[in-house]
Amino acid sequence: MKLRAVINRTSLAARIVVVVVGLDLLLIALLVTLGVFVARTELLAAFDTSLQSKALSIRALVRYDEDGSSDLIFDSSGLPPSADPAHPDVFAVYLKGNLLAESPGWNGLPSETRYSDDQFARFHEQGAPFRGLILREVEILDREEDASAPVAKITVVYASSLLEVRRRVVRVGVYLSGAGLILLLPMSWLTIWAVRRSLNPLHDLASRASQITVQTWAFDVPASAPVTPELTPLTQALQTLVARLHDSFASQRQFTSDLAHELKTSVAIIKSSAQVLLQNPRSAEEYHTGVEGLVTDCERLENLVERMLRLARAEQRGEEGARERIGTADLLATCEAAIGRLAVLAAAKQVQLSLEGRPRIELRADSEDLELVWVNLLDNAVRHSAPNSIVHLRLSDADRGNVSVIVEDSGEGISEDEIPHVFDRFHRGTEGRVTTSPRFGLGLAICKAIIEGYGGTIHLTSRPGRGTTVRADFSTEVILSSVVGDFPTSRS
């Protein structure tokens, strides 16, 4: 048993033990009090009985004189023995107010005597407490032959020392307290043992929890935890925490691994391009074409690194909420700029771009960031649209205080099981990388990070064959000013 653990005030075990032992002590004190009270009552009752019988025997010692006169005498030969030789009993017999007989040391009842029930008296005599019984005007037991003569009546006072009773009561108290304290020791020990034992499930849980590392995420809940109702919330909280940490760690690891894969692939392209070029002697023209290809390959790598940095910055902003150095962006202007940048691709794919709704809204955001988001969304929409279809970019502040930007196409759509992954980093969809321009699967992840970094939300809904809608919403805290202008509502 570690004493330190028991003494430590903040320890749960110590607190429980202290409370239980304290209650034990209180209980012992109550029991002792009750025991003493009962013992005192019982002893006093016995004392009174003995007083009664002694007073009666004194009464019996008063008799008529044998010479035939009607005088009363006191026969002191049959006195009852004193209970306490150190403080002998005292008595007195009165006949019609005159003292008939008295014990040695009788000084009459002191003035401070307390009476109860009109027959008991308490006083101090010889430095000890005395309790006396007064038999008032009782007939004497001795009878004259002439039965018609009136029987003489006497008053008997008999008192004994209470010291012996007191001593016994004290002894009972001492015995009871001693027994209680002796019992308290094993009880305390038992309490400490039981408390520590009942805390075992907590220790088990803690030791299992401490076994969780980034290598082994398994959190086996010890068998004792589920059957301990007090531990259920803690166990559940731990399980949830571990699962969440594991997920976030796994996704981070997946991301790092994907990133490494992309970087290695990009480097592999550059290296193999250069080595193919060096494989055989070539004409100046061939070298020229080859080096041009190498530059394109480098641009691919540069593109990847740039996108990664943008993603990292946007995510960092989301985490830190570092908004102080951000300027203001005119939402409509960023949308118009994005449409302008997509014009060539849209024309090549024969897709019409339409900007609808033009509230003048200023946001606390970087305009380049917002433009990038709209460009990414429009780019995806255009790429997945059939010729002669329309891609809509809608701005709306109809919902007061909220601004939303919606990009809607009527293209091929996204299958239901793919939708939850579209915002994942390096998610490419089913088309894979078989396109002319390098597509890393970072576009939507960047959009999400940027929008969320500015405190907004982004959602995607899609129906295969019918089209896809992406909606970005900004809350009031990002919006600096909002003026609804009377502009035409459609343009193509």
Partner: protein, 230 residues
């Protein structure tokens, strides 16, 4: 030799194809997804499949398992960007023959490709010998009786294939399948032209014949049992 390159990164696939064509004289077909790769490998007897792991539609590991389950013995060389021991072990256990991690060295890729092909044909030395004829697959040079013989690229490819399969009768259709990829027009009489060219350079100046024609069956490279009639 005919190789299937399965890689969804277009630029990388182009570079590997070019490296194999120019550096080893192989015929090369390309595929950009796992599904198509399985179909191509199932319908054509390739001498080697170079397979990327991260593929659309079907992963590289799936392709390996599926091919081996179909009983295909074509050697498979894996291209991987992940060098974690586990994935490499599971790949080799799944039936891959060797692997190269990205970014790889083109020279190493070619050397491994050649080695895997050789082993697949039951040859382990890089120099294939039939009597006094030696075909050096690393240097792509041919010697007979210590003298270097200069061949056209196509003649070399025919001779190299026959040397890999020495002692075995190779039908003309097999030669066609292994020496040309999808980009070439196939005419059977072209093979006969290369064979006669090879005979003139490899057999005619020497006392024994190594290239034999079994009419209706095909060609075989082996020592002559009968002395050449003068």
């Amino acid at each position: 030799m005919r190789v299937l390159v399965v890689e969804d990164e277009q630029r990388l696939a182009e570079n590997i194809e070019r490296g194999l064509r120019e550096g080893a004289g192989y015929a090369v077909d390309r595929s950009a997804d796992g599904e198509e790769a399985l179909f191509m490998a199932g319908s054509i007897e390739y001498d080697l499949i170079i397979l990327d792991l991260m593929l659309p539609k079907r992963s590289g590991v799936e392709v390996v398992k599926k091919l081996r389950a179909q009983g295909k013995v074509t050697p498979i060389l894996i291209l991987t960007a992940r060098d974690e021991r586990e994935s490499v072990v599971s790949l080799l256990n799944a039936g891959a023959d060797d692997y190269v991690t990205k970014p790889f060295d083109l020279g190493e890729l070619l050397a491994r490709a050649k080695a895997v092909i050789r082993r697949g044909k039951g040859q382990s030395a890089p120099v294939l010998s039939v009597e006094d004829l030696q075909v050096d697959t690393a240097k792509r040079s041919v010697h007979r009786n210590g003298r270097e013989i200069s061949l056209t690229p196509m003649e070399y490819r025919v001779l190299e294939y026959l040397a890999h399969r020495q002692g075995i009768v190779v039908p003309q259709t097999e030669l066609l399948e292994h020496l040309y990829d999808y980009n070439w027009e196939k005419f059977s009489n072209v093979i006969e032209v290369y064979i006669s060219g090879l005979r003139r350079k490899v057999d005619d100046p020497f006392p024994t014949r190594l290239i034999h024609t079994l009419r209706g069956h095909g060609y075989v490279l082996r020592p002559d049992e009968v002395k050449k009639r003068k």
